[in-house]
């Protein structure tokens, strides 16, 4: 299975993260998204005319939407991650997969403005990002009242993985995560999952690693 990937892309990271959590090996094909703009070259447009990454290929299946990739990986391996145990759960999972596109547009748009100096109405993108974070916080408060730590259940599903990266990287677009205690605990719960992998800007829980012994490497100096 081959993923057209860019290390700083939160959408590509969703796919890498779920594959790592499920133990599915991926062949990574690095795309020179920035500064090269390789996703807009004829060769890549031939794979995805929309000119976006990630792109996932498995035999004759070719996917260009990260939500579909998450569904595919979860379906291959474990129905628990699909979030489809009941009709309501399936619908709520879909709801979050769609919501994740709002996070991409708002928080992701603000991040592109701030990091790659893309043109855009930064203030409007940040305001839309804050509105989305408030919705997420309110939903997570209700989940905690129900005794559930994740978005649609007390176990992680693709809904969590779809929403996690852009939320965790909100500060890259100068949107603060300070006002959201339930989001903070949820981000932590995702980062604590066995098999969790990092991307630049999203790190593992250091406290889960043993204290480095005398003179050992592992922590930056």
């Amino acid at each position: 299975m081959k993923l057209y990937d860019y290390i700083l892309s939160p959408s590509c990271y969703k796919v890498r993260l779920l594959a790592a959590l499920l133990g599915i090996p991926l062949e990574l094909r690095a795309v020179d998204f920035h500064p090269g703009g390789e996703h807009r070259t004829p060769a890549l447009l031939a794979l995805n005319p929309a000119g976006s990454i990630p792109i996932l290929e498995d035999d004759d299946l070719r996917l260009t939407e990260s939500a579909a990739m998450l569904v595919y990986l979860a379906s291959l391996k474990s129905s628990d991650w699909l979030g489809r145990d009941t009709a309501a759960e399936a619908a709520r999972t879909e709801q979050w997969l769609s919501f994740a596109q709002r996070l991409t547009a708002s928080l992701g748009g603000a991040r592109l403005c701030e990091m790659l100096l893309r043109p855009g109405d930064l203030a409007a993108l940040q305001a839309a990002g804050i509105a989305a974070l408030r919705e997420l916080e309110a939903a997570l408060v209700e989940q905690r009242l129900r005794g559930e730590r994740f978005l649609v259940a007390d176990r992680p599903t693709i809904a969590d993985i779809a929403c996690f990266p852009y939320v965790a990287l909100a500060p890259d677009g100068s949107v603060s995560l300070d006002p959201y205690p339930s989001i903070r605990l949820w981000l932590r719960a995702v980062r604590a999952l066995p098999g969790f992998i990092e991307m630049p800007g999203i790190h593992r829980l250091h406290e889960l690693k043993p204290e480095p012994v005398h003179g050992a490497e592992g922590e930056p100096a």
Partner: protein, 216 residues
């Protein structure tokens, strides 16, 4: 609003939002602070600025009874003293390396900023339990007017949301914003708690858009 002797105790956060081995950012009139709870459960409050290179300690992590900075791993004890500098494992960190700390008190599921020189205990609210904290982009006065409730002490409002009696503990934040800690009746059902949480969102929309009618 002068914060001299009117309200020496300021509500900072809800206990449930700070489980053992976690740290959260807190704004206080003295500046940003990192509120953290050790693995053993001890609460501490430290200035949110690492003495090394200024990284926010609220971005750090708690291991055992110490708070560590995410940047270069310097760690601090509950009194703010630097315990360890990973790049110099043989060095006993000089006592002069320390972060400013503050006193906190925890009661009824709420964490309060206390003053070392003031023995007063936080107010308690029999029959109420904490529900959630949320920040409003308006001042306490606007929230009070929108709620249409009554004042029950400095920074404390009583009112009704979704048909349930509620208590709002208000802490003024930077730039005219407010942090509200919402308390609901201890005997409220799950559905009632969810309804109160949703009504708080409605209250916030009304307060922030200047709609004056109560959100009850």
């Amino acid at each position: 609003m002068p914060s001299t002797d009117a309200a020496p105790l300021t509500p900072l956060a809800l206990s449930e939002d700070l489980p053992p081995a976690t740290v959260m950012p807190i704004w206080t009139p003295e500046g940003p602070m990192a509120l953290w709870r050790s693995v053993g459960g001890t609460l501490s409050l430290a200035a949110d600025r690492c003495p090394h290179r200024g990284m926010r300690l609220s971005h750090g992590f708690v291991r055992g009874e110490a708070l560590s900075c995410i940047y270069h791993g310097w760690s601090y004890d509950q009194g703010g003293r630097c315990l360890r500098i990973p790049a110099h494992p043989d060095l006993e960190p000089p006592a002069s390396i320390r972060v400013a700390t503050g006193s906190v008190l925890e009661a009824g599921g709420v964490i309060w900023r206390a003053r070392a020189d003031d023995p007063s205990l936080p107010p308690d609210f029999p029959g109420f339990v904490p529900l959630r904290s949320l920040s409003f982009a308006v001042s306490r006065d606007v929230i009070s007017r929108t709620l249409g409730g009554e004042s029950a002490g400095p920074g404390i409002l009583k009112g009704t949301l979704a048909g349930s009696a509620v208590i709002l503990l208000c802490a003024e934040q930077a730039e005219g914003t407010s942090l509200i800690h919402l308390l609901a009746p201890a005997d409220a059902t799950l559905d009632q708690r969810i309804a109160v949480s949703r009504a708080a969102e409605t209250l916030r929309r009304a307060a922030e858009t200047g709609t004056t009618e109560a959100a009850a």
